[in-house]
């Protein structure tokens, strides 16, 4: 089993954080994993994406050309990655940010709106992770939550719990 995931959007949307949580969860399940980020020249607001590979065996190139899954947070990225998706691949879209007409092959979530329900829109990435894991079951909910905890523990228990809640809300959307 080897699955290739691209998380993509603009800087500041928690793209890299989402990728980091995935690899942390993968490690908890003793999988082989790599993470590879790409940025524009700019710090915030510019296009950014990360590539995550989760596998049972040695991973050669950490670069992903034809992803199995794309988690998408911007229109530009949507247009671009829709084409590169594997034939049986899946696209997950934050539909607060990208409105599309024909969405038969796309799983959508109004992730900002969902996140804002919990007090701030910056947890949209957690909601999307929830949606993704619920649909794909690549990693266990428990490992994901452990990984989220690990990632936010320096910000205190409250933040950890809030993020887990949003993640679970995302989970429930499938």
């Amino acid at each position: 089993m080897k699955k290739e995931i691209i998380i993509t959007g603009y800087g500041g949307q928690g793209i890299m954080q989402a990728g980091n949580i995935l690899i942390k969860a993968a490690i908890l399940e003793d999988k082989v994993t790599t993470f590879f980020p790409s940025y524009g020249a700019e710090m915030r607001g510019g296009a950014a994406n990360c590539k995550v590979i989760i596998s049972d065996e040695f991973i050669g190139s950490p670069i992903v050309y034809k992803p199995d899954y794309v988690l998408c947070f911007s229109r530009l990225a949507f247009e671009k990655f829709r084409k590169s998706l594997k034939p049986d691949g899946l696209m997950f879209l934050n539909s607060d940010l990208v409105k599309i007409e024909n969405n038969i092959d796309v799983l959508v979530l109004e992730a900002n709106t969902l996140s804002e329900k919990f007090g701030s829109k910056i947890m949209a990435n957690m909601a999307m992770l929830g949606l993704f894991i619920a649909r794909v079951k690549l990693l266990k909910q428990a490992s994901m939550e452990e990984a989220i905890k690990e990632s936010f523990k320096h910000k205190g228990e409250k933040i950890v719990n809030l993020n887990i809640e949003v993640f679970r809300a995302g989970l429930d959307c499938v």
Binding site: Q13, G45, S74, D96
Partner: protein, 67 residues
């Protein structure tokens, strides 16, 4: 009469114009623009002082003859 004109697509919602407007007629809108940003909108009577123009970092504001 001159009035502020906002380019919703250029706006990054930095909030500087809102801060400097002497008559508090600028506010964040509800909708997203195509970059996922809530652009600023005019919510009152602009006195065309130009302060928002002077301070907008993103060329998103001009003060023009109302046509």
């Amino acid at each position: 009469m001159k009035k502020v004109e906002i380019n919703r697509e250029y706006c990054k919602c930095c909030g500087i114009c809102i801060e400097v407007c002497p008559v508090n007629v600028l506010s964040v809108s509800k909708e997203f623009n195509t970059s996922g940003v809530h652009p600023v909108e005019l919510i009152g009577d602009c006195i065309a002082c130009g302060k928002c123009y002077l301070m907008c970092p993103d060329f998103a504001i001009e003060v023009k003859e109302n046509d």
